[in-house]
Point group: C2
Chain length 476, copies 2
Amino acid sequence: MEKKNKEITSRDVDFAKWYTDVVKKADLVDYSSVKGSMIIRPYGYAIWENMQKILDKEFKKTGHENIQMPMFIPESLLNVEKEHVKGFAPEVAWVTQGGSELLDERFCVRPTSEVLFCEHYKKIIKSYRDLPKLYNQWCTIVRWEKTTRPFLRTREILWQEGHTMHATKEEAKAETLQMFKIYENFQRDYLAMPVIVGKKTDKEKFAGAEETYTIEAMMYDGVALQNGTSHYFGQGFAKAFGIEFLDKDNKLKTPYQTSWGVTTRMIGGLIMTHSDDNGLVLPPNIAPYKLCLIPIGKGEKVEEMVNLLTSKLDKEEITYQVDNSDKTPGFKFAEAEVKGYPIRIEIGARDLENNKITLVRRDTLEKIEVEANIDVIITKIKELFIVIQKDMYNRALKRRNSMLYEAKNYEEFKDIAQNKNGFIKINWCGNVECEDKIKEDTTLKSRCIIENEKVDGPCCVCGKEAKEKIYFGKQY
Amino acid sequence: MEKKNKEITSRDVDFAKWYTDVVKKADLVDYSSVKGSMIIRPYGYAIWENMQKILDKEFKKTGHENIQMPMFIPESLLNVEKEHVKGFAPEVAWVTQGGSELLDERFCVRPTSEVLFCEHYKKIIKSYRDLPKLYNQWCTIVRWEKTTRPFLRTREILWQEGHTMHATKEEAKAETLQMFKIYENFQRDYLAMPVIVGKKTDKEKFAGAEETYTIEAMMYDGVALQNGTSHYFGQGFAKAFGIEFLDKDNKLKTPYQTSWGVTTRMIGGLIMTHSDDNGLVLPPNIAPYKLCLIPIGKGEKVEEMVNLLTSKLDKEEITYQVDNSDKTPGFKFAEAEVKGYPIRIEIGARDLENNKITLVRRDTLEKIEVEANIDVIITKIKELFIVIQKDMYNRALKRRNSMLYEAKNYEEFKDIAQNKNGFIKINWCGNVECEDKIKEDTTLKSRCIIENEKVDGPCCVCGKEAKEKIYFGKQY
C-alpha cells in the first residue's frame, strides 16, 4: 500500500513512534501537565463509548447489575488479603491530606476494587437467597506506572470490573468462563481481533486469584497485548473477609468469587492490529462514524446528493461525518484516512454528471464506482461493511498465524526468540523455574497455557516430563 | 395516607432520619469503611444510568462531545486562576505519594476540571475554525466535606461537567442559558420536580464565574436543594491561561467560556420531593422499573397471566420486576412500596376467576381493578404512567407554592424565617452587606435573583432603594 501521510512515521521503520503518531494525528488522545495520564479526546472517547455500550448490554443480558463503589481504599482495608496487597501496594497513589488536614489513615486511589466489593458482600450476603451476586462497575482506576504509553500503560485506566459471588465452585467457574467468552466474542466480532485464549501460569496470574484466564492478542509487530482477564478466586478473599452464607441445608458456608475486566487498552490493541502508515483503520462494527462524505466542488447537484444521502443514513441509523470544509479534496481524503472511517464517499460534480459516485474502502484503499442512486449506494455500503469487517479479521488472523512458532528444544527456542517476533509454543513441565529461566535468558514471558492440546515431547527448557503446551512472547 | 412501614421513620417526625431510612431500605446506597463516600447500589445506580442516558442524548443533540480528562490536577495548575483556587483548595484531597515515592509536586483529585479543560483548550484552539468547542465529561469528582449525607453531600460525587469555548460573548451566554434550560426541562419532565430558576448573587456564584444560573428545588421540608448550575465565565479563565484564537478579521482574540453540571444529588432531590412514609416514590419517566408484578398464589392461571404480561411488556419495552419469592403477599406489597415502583400489578387466582386483576398506584396507593385482558391492561398502564407523572408534578408544585412567602420588611422576614419553612421573596438593594446580615441573623442564604419581576418597595433589609427581587431560604 502506498504511504501518503508524511506526518506519520512508517510502522516498519519505528513501530513505537508510528503508534504515538497515529494516536495523536487521529485525535484520539492528547497530553497534559498530568504526567502519566492522558486526555482521551472526543474521537477516542467515542470508541470507548461504543465498547461500553456493546459490553454493558452483554453484561446485563447475562444478569449483571452495575454498581458504584468508592474510589478510595483505606490502607487497612487494602491489607486484608495478603497476596493481593503484595501485588498492588507498590503501584498505588496515596492520598494523605484532605483540605488542610493530614489524614489519620491514608487512602489509596483504587487500583482495583476486590477489597471494597468484599467488604460490601460481607454485609449483604447472609443466605443462599442472596446468591449469586452479579455486580459490575465502570470506573477509573489508578496504577502509578513509571513509563507510560497512551491506552497501553497509563496511570489512570478506564475500565469495567465485574465482581461476583456464588454458592458453589461450579457456578463461579462457569461465570469465570462465561465472561471470558463474552470478551473473546466481542474482540472477534466487533474489534476484528483474533485472540489466543487460555489460563495464565501461577507466576503470571492475578494477585489473589486461583485461576486467571487471559485474552492474548498479537500486535502487528509480533508483541503480545493482554487484552482482558477473567479470574476465579475460589474462597480466598471470602475467607479473608469472613463472608459466609446460610445454605439450604442450614449450614454456614463460604461463597466462591470471580472478577473480570477489560480496559481502554483495547483501543490500543485495535490500533496496533489494524492501522497502517496512513493512520487509523477502524472495523465498521466499532467505528464511531462508519462513513465520511466528501463533497467535491460546490454544485447544486453535489449538495442535493449529500442531503439525500445524509437523510437516508439518519433513517438507517448509519453514523457518518460530512467534510464541508474549504480544504482541497486531496487534503480531505488524507484526513479521512488518518481518522480511519471504514468507507469514504467521494461526491463530485463531474461524477454525478456521469451518474456515479466513488466509495473508497479505508482498509484496502480500493476505489469502487457506484451508480448515483440512493438505494444502490446504501445496499452497497451495507454489503461493504460486512466484507470489510470480515477481511480485516482474516488479514489480522493470517498475519498473527504467520508469527506463531513452535520450538522443540531450548536452542531452537532461543534462536526464534532472538530472530523472530511472535509467540513461541513449547512443551512445558509446569515448573516456575523453567518459566523464570526463559524470562532471564530471553525476556519473554509466558502468555497462556493452551487448552485441549496434548504435549508431544519433554519440557523444552529442562528436558523433564512435560505437562502442558504453553505460549511465550514479548509483551506490552 | 396510611403509614404501614414500621422500619421507616415518619417524615413529619424526623425528616433527616426519614431520608436516610428511605435510601437504605430502598437499597439505593450502603456505607463502607471509606468515610464520607457511599456505595451506590444497583437500584440507585440504575436511576443514575437513566438520568445519564436522557441527558447525554440532549447534550449530543445540541452538538456536545464527550471527553475524558485526567482525574488529577498538579498543584501549580490549580493555582493558575486565583478566584478559583481560593474557592476549591480548602476542600480537595491531596495525593502526595505514588508507590513508594514521595512526589515532587502534589496532585489533587479533581474537585472540578476547569483548569484541565483550559490547559487543553490552550493547545487545540488556534483559529476561529476551532470554535466553538463543546465538550462534556461524565466522571467522579472529590470534595473533602466534613459532614456528609447520601447523594446530598458526599466526598465523592458522580456528575457531568460541560466546558465550552466560544468566539463571542453572545454565543457563550446563549450556551449558558441553553444548558440551563435543558436541566430545567429534564427536572420538570422526567423528575416531576418544579424548580425555581435564576441567577446567583455575586456572593453565591461559582469560584471564577461571572454569572451562575442555578436550579433551586424545594424539598418536602421546605429546605432548598441547589440541583444544577450553569456558569458564564466571560474571559477570566481564558486570559489566565493565555487562550487566544485568530479571528476571521485576522486579529488575535480571547474566547468566551461556559461550564455546567448536574450530579447524583438529583437522586436526593427526587427522594425528598416525592417519597413518603412507606418508602420511595419514583416518577414513571425516571424509574428503573416502571412496574412490579406480584403473583399471588401459584395456580396455572396466575402463571399463564404473568407469562403473557411479561412477554407483552418486553415487546413494548416497558421495564418491570416480578416478585416470585415465597414471601407473603403483604410483605411483597410493602417491599414494592419501599422500592417505589410506579405501579404494582397484583395477579391473584381468585381475581382471575372473576376475570380481573388489580393495579395499585404507588403515589396514591389507589387500587384500580382492570379486566384481565392483556390489551386492556397495557392500555390502562400506559394511561396511568402519564397521569401519575403529571399528578406527581402537580402535587409537588402545589406543596412548593404553599411554602413560598414574601416579606415586605425585615421584621416580617425574620418572623417568617423563624416560624416557617420555605423560600422568602424580598426586594433587595443588591448589596452583599444585606445578604450577609440575613445569613447572620437567620442562617438563610440567597437562592436566586428572580428574573422578570419588578421591585415594588425598598430593600427589605436596609430600606434603601431596591434593585432586584430575590429568594432566600435554608439549604442542604
